[in-house]
Amino acid sequence: MSSFIDLAKTLDWSPLWISLKTGVVATIISFFLGLWAARKVIKKDHRAKSILDGILTLPMVLPPTVAGFFLLLIFSRRRAFGIFLNDAFDIQVVHTWLGCIIAATVIAFPLMYRNARAAFEQIDANLVYAGRTLGMSELTIFWRIVVPTAGPGIASGTILTFARAMGEYGATSMLAGNIPGKTGTVSQRIAMVIQDGDYVTAGFWVVIVLIIAFFAIFLINMITGKHMKNVRKW
């Protein structure tokens, strides 16, 4: 125990901040993108829906290293799009914090999208129709009726997205690398120190990750639990 406290004093805390920052930014992007995509997809007919749904869910099903491979193909500075980003906007993705965000967003986005979609599909269409006949604009209907009504599903999607984005390892290590203080996230730090045989530091980070993960689950249960009161046990 005392070794943990000594460790905490001398530890490089940068992985925690990088992971948290990445998690927050990736969640914000996924949140709006996920709601937008879910809203678009549920309006499509059955065929288009299943195709789009497959594409949007793919990053969740693929091994993260496969997603990382595709991301490298797109953003590598030796390839057209990467060159274009670099020359036209002076944007570099590979081995930068931006790479962390992109990798985490791509991997975590499907969780947001799927939860939002499931929540939207549960909504009574009459609520939307009622909004329309009352003269409310489509945007007002979406933000003031649909999103609040789908609230619990969206909230749990958001938290899952954050947890997934924060813990992302595979795609991040390929696209952003593990540069201490820059792209070195907690997950990558754990893998690195274990390779060095430093199980104490690894254990320390594991405890921190466990606390955050537990807190996330607790939060989900708090939010969805409020609406579970009337559910009958069986």
Partner: protein
């Protein structure tokens, strides 16, 4: 001049909706079974459901016209729609629900909404969520939410079907009171003839996507004209007939010949007789009588329903006995015959 004109054509799957609702009555009823297209008609008028072609006009404004390429968004139609489940926004308080159609939450709009809640005796409930209200209260809020936007037309989609039977009777009376001050037209769709008989001045009977009978409500009930409309208006006894001569028809399912004073039109295909209209006969058989041969009796709180075996061996005839007539039956015993009276015999096409 208030006048609703809705000529609606729509093909969807195997279903063909092809209705014309044209009325200047202030309370209009649409009667039909579920799946008849009555709800779709209402949704088309509100602009929630797409229309292939036609013309929709309310309160002197064209809402839809396929040849002029007019198709106003539901937001622009100024048509109030009350949904079967009321569709109150579950996360908003009663107050916010009523203000939803008013735009910005200004002091003026708040007062308007409050005034409306007071009118519907829902003041004191402003901060409650819809889920905390009873069915009747939810309905009042739904109506307040519609009325506060001052719609040119109000559409009620099976407004009482979500209520239990005790509340249903009370809310039917209440609805008429609440709509008393409303100057525009109101259309109510229902499968319940009682609701519509009470509510509507003009009635449209819809079946399989078509209007099969229209007219002043009481007239439609008295003279349904066609067999389907007769059944929908609650005529329990229907039989196909064969016209024998100018004054005689054979009721095929009941196995009897009926003689009529009036002339039987060539076009007659069915005969209808309401379950309350039979006259009991003791002793000697008279003209236009069926033998009283009950196969089942249902004892209801204020009514006895007899189901009478017919010679045709088809569906039994229904005879519903109420009040005074019940007393006579207990005094004199069950009759030997039931007489069909001329005035009550419905000749149908």
């Amino acid at each position: 001049m208030k006048r609703l004109y809705a000529d609606i054509h729509r093909k969807i799957g195997g279903f063909d909706l092809d209705v014309l609702i044209d009325s200047d009555a202030s309370r209009i009823g649409i009667l039909g079974e579920s799946g008849s297209g009555k709800s779709m008609t209402l949704k088309s008028i509100a602009g929630i459901e797409a229309v292939d072609s036609g013309h929709i006009e309310a309160d002197g404004r064209v809402l839809y016209d396929s040849s002029d390429k007019i198709d106003l968004k539901p937001q622009k139609r100024n048509v109030g729609y009350m949904f079967q489940n009321y569709a109150l926004f579950p996360t908003m308080s009663v107050m916010k629900n009523v203000m939803a159609g008013l735009g910005r939450p200004t002091e003026e709009n708040r007062n308007k909404a409050m005034e409306m809640l007071r009118r519907f005796r829902m003041d004191g409930f402003e901060d409650k969520l819809p889920g905390e209200l009873s069915g009747g209260q939810q309905q009042r809020v739904a109506l307040a939410r519609i009325m506060v936007t001052e719609p040119a037309l109000i559409l009620l989609d099976e407004p009482f079907s979500a209520l239990d039977s005790y509340l249903r009777d009370r809310m039917q009376v209440e609805m008429l009171e609440m709509l008393e001050d409303y100057k525009g037209q109101v259309v109510m769709v229902s499968h319940s003839r009682d609701e519509l008989y009470r509510f509507s001045e003009e009635l449209f009977v819809v079946s399989e996507g078509h209007v099969i009978r229209r007219g002043e409500t009481k007239t439609v009930f008295r003279e349904p004209v066609c067999a389907k409309a007769a059944r929908l208006t609650g005529c329990k006894n229907l039989s196909p007939v064969k016209r024998i001569d100018e004054h005689t028809v054979k009721a095929i399912d009941w196995g009897i010949d009926l003689r009529l004073e009036r002339e039987v039109p060539e076009s007659v295909s069915h005969i209808g007789y309401r379950a309350h209209s039979f006259r009991p006969v003791w002793g000697q058989k008279q003209e236009n009588c069926v033998k009283f041969d009950p196969m089942r009796v249902d004892d209801l709180p204020f009514e006895k329903n007899y189901y009478i075996r017919t010679a045709g061996n088809n569906d039994p005839l229904c005879w519903f006995v109420q009040g005074e007539e019940q007393k006579i039956l207990t005094e004199k015993g069950l009759p030997d015959y039931l007489k069909l009276t001329e005035d009550d015999i419905l000749l149908l096409e």
